[in-house]
Symmetry: C2
Subunit: 437 residues, 2 copies
């Protein structure tokens, strides 16, 4: 029998919150246009014995202030005591912070957002303390590589940052396609081909809700024509369609799409569309929290939930969601916002641990050009990312890059994401409409 001594583990001694701005191309969506910079916030927890745990969340001035005020709860805590930390954050921010969210797909509930930042950084710490990758803290790897989908966007000319393709000649085409405008089926097909060539993606998602439905249907048909019958296609008009529109165009997408994401707004409309259409429906808009699950189950609002650890409150919560999906016959995929390698690594650890094989995950990663981790951009092979091998997340902060991206944040003048204002710079008077067509 081995002897074990009970040790107090290291405690959280520093909470470093660094808002950063990363260059972002002028991508279009139902809510408007991406600004030249996407805001992220990098959280670093440092323990009493100088171990560093990190996370990355969508940033804005309000969440940064909330994180600052959450320091008083986080400091001095044992990173293993996540149940307790969550409870204290719930008490501190109040239970309504768990349930309120805005209308845009990226609007976050405060509590899950903050807890996700803290939990992921703590799991990174726990992994380093125990010398295990984060995936092992979630029950271990079900797969060595986690596959992603090519995430296509209608866009204006411009790349928002130089693409550094290093050793991979396939990425040269992507550098051009990433720079080019894509406002019609031809542009989308070129974008898709170059993105798939550079990253090896084997399934494709088009973000829609930008043009009237027929134009976007034409783009999907052009993709099918260009890629042949076997490449899974998905389409996401971000709930900007009326129910009748969704039924009319959804019927024409039967057999064309692997799944149709958020054709309409709200669980009731989604459930009605689902009754009418012979095509799996996915969501990251109508079922985005545990509070939404009972409605999802009673109404039958979707077939596939696009989880997102930033939205759902971390990795253990995402594993709970996976069990709920398994229990109720939902499938899983994963949602993404513009992000860097910390979030990518987290998605890969989670994607590797989920018992049921998820659909290939969404990622904006090919649209970003910068990095904040040591070693630079994470490589894709055949559209998949290898699970990092080191302890914790297996990625570490590049402090110089972090400082540079923080300077970007200070100089860019943005304080929160507002795609409507960006759109108005190009189309004066343009207004976001919850339902447009």
């Amino acid at each position: 029998m081995n002897e074990f001594s009970r040790q107090a583990g290291p405690l959280i001694a520093e909470v470093n919150i660094t808002p950063i701005a990363i260059t972002d191309p002028p991508l279009l969506n139902a809510a408007g246009l991406h600004a030249p910079y996407a805001l992220r916030t990098v959280v670093e927890l440092v323990t009493t014995d100088r171990i560093s745990g990190i996370s990355e969340i969508p940033g804005n001035i309000s969440i940064n202030a909330d994180l600052e005020s959450a320091k008083q709860i986080i400091l001095g805590k044992d990173p293993f005591q996540l149940n307790r930390i969550k409870q204290e954050l719930e008490h501190y921010f109040g239970s309504e912070s768990a349930s309120l969210r805005g209308d845009a797909p990226w609007d976050q509930r405060k509590l899950v957002h903050i807890f996700s930042a803290v939990e992921v950084a703590c799991l990174d710490l726990i992994g380093k303390i125990t010398n295990r990758p984060v995936v092992d803290l979630l029950g271990g790897k079900m797969r060595e590589r986690v596959p992603f989908a090519a995430y296509l966007f209608y866009k204006h000319e411009g790349a928002g940052g130089k693409w550094e393709f290093k050793t991979d000649p396939a990425a040269e085409g992507w550098a051009a396609a990433r720079q080019a405008k894509a406002l019609d089926p031809e542009g989308i097909v070129t974008q898709a081909k170059e993105m798939c060539r550079a990253f090896g993606f084997q399934s494709i998602k088009l973000k829609g809700g930008v043009f009237e439905p027929q134009a976007e249907l034409d783009a999907l048909k052009a993709l099918r024509e260009a890629f042949g019958p076997d490449v899974p296609l998905r389409f996401d008009p971000n709930a900007v369609w009326k129910l009748e529109t969704a039924i009319h165009y959804g019927k024409q997408m039967e057999g064309l799409l692997e799944y149709l994401e958020d054709p309409v707004r709200g669980q009731v409309n989604m459930a009605e569309a689902r009754q009418e259409l012979n095509i799996p429906l996915a969501t990251n808009m109508c079922t985005t929290s545990f509070e939404d699950i009972p409605g999802s189950i009673s109404l039958g609002s979707e077939d596939i939930i696009l989880s997102d650890h930033h939205f759902w409150g971390g990795l253990r919560a995402s594993m709970h969601l996976a069990q709920i999906c398994n229990t109720f016959g939902r499938k899983l995929s994963m949602h993404s916002n513009s992000h860097l390698g910390i979030s990518l690594a987290v998605m890969v650890h989670l994607g590797a641990a989920i018992p049921q094989p998820p659909y290939t995950l969404d990622t904006h990663y090919p649209w970003q050009s910068e990095e904040v981790i040591v070693g630079g951009r994470i490589p894709f092979e055949e559209g998949a990312v290898q699970v990092p091998e080191g302890p914790g997340l297996g990625v570490e902060l590049d402090k110089q890059s972090l400082a540079q991206l923080h300077r970007n944040f200070l100089s860019c003048g943005l304080t929160k994401r507002d795609d409507q204002i960006e759109m108005q710079k190009i189309v004066p008077g343009w207004l976001f409409q919850q339902v447009r067509w």
Copy 2:
């Protein structure tokens, strides 16, 4: 920045499966009578670097054989790779093993049963490898002590093993009450008083389904009379009542009970009873697996789920269940069979980690007199058990006691639990009926 090297961790090098028989008093329930011995199986996993991880499950000849044949999957595995081990066990035993169970409350689905044994022992290993208590692997402690309920049984004379009360004079009364018959309200009240005095329990559960309903209602009224208005009472007739009986007697238990457990059989009947009665209904019979959850939600079959890590497939699965309960407005308690200190320690780690405070947990522990862990019987304070502090489960196998209890198993001649056969020794021709009154 610390430097971390990627190490291969220890692998599982030995699987020791030891059936044991523990003396058990002649407790009555709807399915008959407890035999003089309850069968448990102790599983010990030993790693390549001689770390030992343990678990304890309800034993029978069939599950022991299945565990033996599962060795080929478990041996050589990294104990962190639990997702993969579960998948391989699923493939090996076939998916139907996950869903079949018998009619008795203790009937187990094979897969969850075996995986629970393996997972708990692996979490014990992981805790020892990382020098952390198992509760910390589940997100950490929400409470320092986990409270249990006094679990009363109608019983015949006899204790099945000597009660060793050591230093605690309060336990002397319990030694006598544990020995005494309890076949009427007076006997039940005496049993309750002595059990509460010895262990400090502050809530009470009576196992019913033994006598006709009025007799058991009289016992509940006697308990209320004896303990005053503030001690929570629960009652479990193990689904042996007709729906009309449940409604008739359930109405008389409104205001008397904290909850009524399994008055009727099956989710449909439970949902109907729940419509009629103004009293929370609990179950460990109609909703006992993730496969049962959709029916539970659509029918509304209970208010409280008595989880059991042996039934639900381990501790992470039990944490998933806790999230599901939280999501759908179910409360949690915990079910028990006759057990020793390994299972008790596991229940305490889990009970401490569950975010929402559960109802006080069930335990048969006061009815057992033996132990299989170093240091002997685990103490209760005010009806609660302190979360063990050591790494892993914080309890270790006493190899001498294990050998003795294994000899009991070999000599007792029992191969599976059969309360009907035991009952027939006293009441010739007695037959179990699913619904009796």
